[in-house]
């Protein structure tokens, strides 16, 4: 049974460690397009897959969030990756399976997956 006591335990575990991870400007931002076109094309499972994989690998330096219509509806689901100090990478026609590869190759190992990007 999920209880608020369990959430309290999470708070106690995390308290004090949150500050050590640095503020959001150091973090890698993963942004999933969530307008109607994105949702219809399957963005929600991509968001779920990315979030769970990032959590599974304990990637404290990554935040996964959403944006609205990026204007490239025919390429949805879209995922943009912003690594501080580097150019934005836009992944197109994403799937939960591709998301796992992006986490491993790009987020963990620093190598963008060129075949998933726009123009390929």
């Amino acid at each position: 049974m999920k209880s608020l006591a369990e959430l309290q335990a999470i708070r106690e575990r995390m308290q004090g460690t949150v500050g050590l991870r640095g503020d959001n400007t150091d973090k890698i931002r993963v942004v999933v397009g969530m307008a109607t076109c994105g949702i219809a094309a399957g963005a929600r499972p991509v968001l779920t897959a990315m979030t769970e994989e990032v959590a599974k690998r304990n990637l404290d330096n990554v935040t996964v969030t959403q944006t609205g219509c990026i204007g490239l509806c025919q390429y949805e689901p879209l995922v943009e990756v912003y690594v501080p100090g580097q150019e934005k990478v836009t992944y197109v026609k994403m799937t939960p399976e591709k998301a796992l590869k992006v986490v491993e190759d790009h987020l963990v190992n620093g190598n963008p997956v060129a075949e998933y990007t726009i123009g390929r």
Partner: protein, 193 residues
Amino acid sequence: MLCHKLMTTGGHVLQEISLNILDIAENGVKAGASVVEIAVDEQPQKDLLTVTIKDNGCGMDAEKLQQVTDPFFTSRTTRKVGLGVPFIKMAAEMTGGRFSIESTVGVGTTVTAQFGYSHIDRMPLGNLVDTVTALVQCNPHMDFLYTHIRGDQVFVMDTKEFRAVLGDEISLAEPEVVQYIRAFLAEGEQSVI
């Protein structure tokens, strides 16, 4: 062009009510709401399924309110179509149901879609756990109140309660917290099936 395809296929690509809910709730986020309330009320014995999405964002004036159900009206600049509201309206009306949208500038907007529960064209509710989790994790600065009623069974998730436990320093987007919320929702959904 996907948007064009979406229109000509009559919105069938958003095949779960939970995806429509996600889509409409995003409008509330865009409107700068601090709270979005989502209610799913299943009353099979009355043959009704009612979905309500209410936000306290910037709201719309009478002119915009009239235009919002038109697929060629949108406030965004990246595309000339806004399909979310027209889709859910059509989805409800296709099942012999009703749709309404109310809004007041500076107060907020409420979308109500009522479906014929047993109608052959009534889309499945789909994955509400994923929808609500996505909304919370992507908008940790906002509060979401989610209510799922089925008959006389009630399940409620209120992020204000989570926030009260976590305090200001721990974001609702923290992976451990998101996992907790997802599990909380999964359990709750099971309890009203």
